[in-house]
């Protein structure tokens, strides 16, 4: 098993009978799914997972067993009515799961039922007691706690007596409960019906619907919990991803605004800029937006912040959607920000990916996973605007809201850069995401008096006294440095060569230009 399948495990299992949590849960181990189900699937009961062909039912069910066996010491039986065991083994391999090894260790038992009506001659009354015996024997032989039946609806096509099949299915679900196994039963979605054969009638505790849609050439998968008896759940659709790490669900929703607001400060990495935030920088857990036109220094500010994080010995994860890691380190080295040592010490990771390489949700799930795995304290997304290449504006905003919630809950400080179109009102742009941000800084190089000078401004900073000045900054081999403010008699601020000519004016604002960046 690759080590990368390790994920955060949910908290202690809720036990039945303590009043507040009447339904005991069996964690799936699938990232995100346990969060949105508040701990997993109903323990000792069947859950229905339904969806159309190719929606990922089988893989989700398989991962439930694999993780059960590997992470929760709960062996599982996979009874397949469709794919052969060879196919199952092959498909699971693409998720990094070695079913043969698990089978050899008796942590998993794969059983394929071949049922083909044309090969069966029906000659009178029958029942499915053989199925019960077979499943019971499989469960007992490895001490299974989990069972998957994928998909049991095949019984209806394999056998002609629908009355018998229905009666036997009802009996099977009662039997599964009596066996106290946590089961996933899959069903094929058809038109308006959840499942072709109305399996939902038999499953009273938990129903999960999977869905796959193709939108602008990228497929997005969604998961929805339709029903979860005795358990609060969000009825929202949640994106999920199947990749070489298995299934990941992107948890969203009601996490919302319950996070703890931190009062600890983090340096921006630019002393003068810290000064604009009352000498302190951002709050930990803030989401920060730096927007501006091309070439105004957004990435440099991001790199300063990342470097300051590493200097404190904290991890910083940099998602680059425009440049490769080597390009970033080279460019930053040219302005005196040496990122390479931090990468060598594994305090900085740069994850570069073309935005169009994946769908929007796939990007966000990947980001979730990397964050969960590596646990950085600071995350940089540079630039977040490239996301719009793969999703509509509303979608991007919704996804970003989820990502921000996710990071806030973990007290991760996030800095997003945003590329705005030149010439227009910069404030108008930014995907409407600025409302999600705690801090919004605008950088630009406005033309005035025949020259272009770099300027930075804090548009907002929630919960912080901050400078309202437009400040000039320069980028040199010492990085980004804010220049002293030169205030004219009328209160306006002189920048560029006007400042030089007017240096007799007293510098205003709390900041001093700084040669050194970051806190030593």
């Amino acid at each position: 098993m690759p080590t990368s399948i390790r994920h955060r495990k949910p908290g202690p299992l809720k036990r039945a009978g303590n009043g507040r949590h009447p339904l005991a849960k069996a964690p799936t181990g699938i990232p995100g799914l346990d969060e949105i189900t508040n701990g997993g699937l109903p323990r000792g009961r069947p859950t229905l997972v339904c969806g159309g062909a190719g929606c990922g039912k089988t893989l989700l069910a398989m991962e439930f067993l694999v993780r059960g066996a590997l992470e929760y010491d709960e062996p599982g039986v996979f009874m397949s009515f469709e794919e052969t065991t060879d196919d199952l083994v092959e498909n699971a391999r693409s998720l990094g799961f070695d079913l043969q090894r698990l089978s050899a260790r008796r942590r998993l038992l794969l059983d394929h039922i071949h049922l083909e009506r044309s090969e069966l001659m029906e000659t009178g009354e029958y029942d499915l007691e053989g199925l019960f015996i077979r499943l019971g024997d499989a469960i007992d032989s490895i001490g299974a706690k989990r069972v998957v039946l994928d998909t049991i609806e095949t019984l209806f096509t394999g056998l002609s007596d629908r009355f018998v099949v229905r009666a036997e299915l009802a009996r099977l679900f009662r039997w599964l409960k009596a066996k106290r196994v946590t089961a996933i039963v899959t069903g094929e979605r058809e038109a308006e019906h959840l499942t072709r054969q109305g399996l939902e009638e038999y499953v009273s505790d938990c129903v999960i619907l999977l869905d796959q849609r193709v939108q602008e050439q990228s497929a997005t998968r969604r998961l929805r919990i339709l029903k979860y008896r005795g358990s609060a759940h969000g009825g929202n659709e949640m994106p999920f991803l199947i990749d070489d790490h298995g299934v990941s669900v992107l948890p969203i929703t009601s996490l919302g605004l319950s996070h703890q607001a931190s009062t600890a400060h983090l340096s921006t990495g630019v002393a003068g800029l810290d000064g604009m935030f009352g000498k302190k920088g951002f709050f930990r857990g803030n989401s920060v937006l730096v927007s501006g036109t091309a070439g105004t220094g957004k990435s440099s500010l991001a790199a300063h912040f990342a470097e300051a994080t590493c200097r404190r010995g904290e991890r910083s994860l940099y998602f680059a959607f425009e440049e490769s890691p080597s390009q970033i380190t080279r460019n930053m080295a040219s302005i005196g920000i040496d990122l390479a040592p931090w990468m060598r010490r594994d305090l900085l990771r740069i994850h570069a990916q073309r935005p169009t390489a994946l769908g929007l949700e796939a990007h966000l799930v990947t980001m979730h996973r990397l964050i969960e795995e590596w646990r950085p304290r600071v995350v940089i997304v540079d630039p977040v605007t490239n996301m719009i290449a793969v999703g509509s504006e509303i979608e991007v905003k919704a996804m970003l809201a989820r990502l921000i919630d996710f990071m806030k809950l973990r007290q991760i400080t996030a800095l997003f850069t945003s590329l705005t179109e030149g010439g227009g009102a910069a404030e108008r742009t930014d995907l409407g995401v600025s409302s999600l941000m705690d801090v919004w800084m605008l950088v630009g190089n406005p033309e005035a008096n025949g020259e272009r000078n770099r300027a930075i401004q804090i548009v907002k900073a929630r919960g912080m006294a901050h400078s309202n000045q437009v400040r000039e900054f320069v980028m040199s081999e010492h990085g980004v440095t804010l220049v002293d403010v030169s205030r004219r008699a009328d209160g306006s601020v002189a920048i560029g060569s006007a400042r030089g000519a007017e240096q007799r004016h007293v510098p205003a604002g709390p900041a001093k230009p700084s040669r050194r960046r970051g806190s030593k």
Binding site: D111, E119, L120, T123, G124, E129, R134
Partner: protein
């Protein structure tokens, strides 16, 4: 192939305990074989309650299931074998075989 005297039937009947359906299936099979396949058949009865692991090995979920192992190809006949005509069809026995 003509119904030559050399042709033999090897049959395996899977049941689950002594249920009315099991008892009926075995009685039906016995009667049918005596009439049409006298001296040319062998029946093995497997009770899955006694040998549960055989359900997986032999891919059985429905009971009763009669498996025709010989003559080839292997065929599965399910139910209590009360529909004589279909059982004969499944066994590849024509009703005239009793005259052979």
């Amino acid at each position: 192939m003509k119904n030559g005297a050399r042709r033999t039937w090897r049959l395996r009947l899977y049941v689950a305990g002594q249920t009315p359906k099991s008892i009926a299936a075995l009685a039906n099979l016995q009667r049918l074989c005596d009439r049409y396949l006298a001296g040319r058949y062998r029946i093995e009865v497997i009770d899955l309650v006694q040998q549960p692991h055989l359900a997986r090995r032999d891919d059985i979920i429905v009971v009763p299931t009669l498996v025709r192992q010989l003559p080839p190809p292997i065929r599965k006949i399910i139910g209590d074998l009360s529909n004589v005509e279909r059982v004969l069809q499944g066994l590849d026995v024509s009703p005239r075989d009793d005259e052979a």
